[in-house]
Symmetry: C2
Subunit: 112 residues, 2 copies
């Protein structure tokens, strides 16, 4: 499976974290091979921090644990979709998701 991963220049793939029952997108994190291995084998989500250059298991400090429900790799191997049961807030700022209240002004499109 690791051979299917297409890592960036830092050896990382993007991991989209989604609440399994509501389909909310909670956050995006980064994983290297070891973080993915831990995520697949322990029932808890582990990331690799690009800023701190270290592993962190979500919830160890905050209590806001992510329990793994399923993991899928995308068609070209550079993104993961991790469906979880999120305890409490996913965002370190205290909001449920890392995108709440952070909309950008956008022109919308419509089907013809």
């Amino acid at each position: 499976m690791a051979t299917a991963l297409k890592r960036d220049s830092a050896g990382l793939v993007a991991a989209i974290i989604q609440q399994f029952d509501t389909n909310e997108v909670l956050m995006l994190g980064w994983m290297d091979d070891e973080a993915l291995h831990r995520t697949l084998t322990t029932g808890r989500v582990t990331f690799f921090s690009r800023s701190r250059q270290e592993y962190w298991r979500k919830g160890d400090t905050s209590g806001h644990v992510q329990y793994v429900k399923s993991v899928a790799l995308d068609c070209d191997g550079d993104a993961l979709l991790v469906r979880v049961d999120q305890v409490g807030a996913a965002c370190h700022t205290g909001t449920r998701t890392c995108f709440d209240g952070r909309s950008l002004a956008a022109v919308t499109g419509e089907r013809d």
Copy 2:
């Protein structure tokens, strides 16, 4: 707004694409400042291809257009959540999402 973006070493941010009414995660693409600008101002999603090093507006070749419904930047500025109305298949392989049928074996976790 561009000042809030935290780009990777290639000048890109990850863009999660989600169907606006079902909350399905469709795919993950990459945007630089110009791709984001086009996405915010035209009603159609434009990516920057890491492999081809060029812009591509989703659907121009396939017809599988993504109409923009909303765009949000995450708390630390390195990911975008773009909610769209996806025409047809999001994946170039013909599946609805780029993650369909691509699950990895994972141990699951449960709340206590």
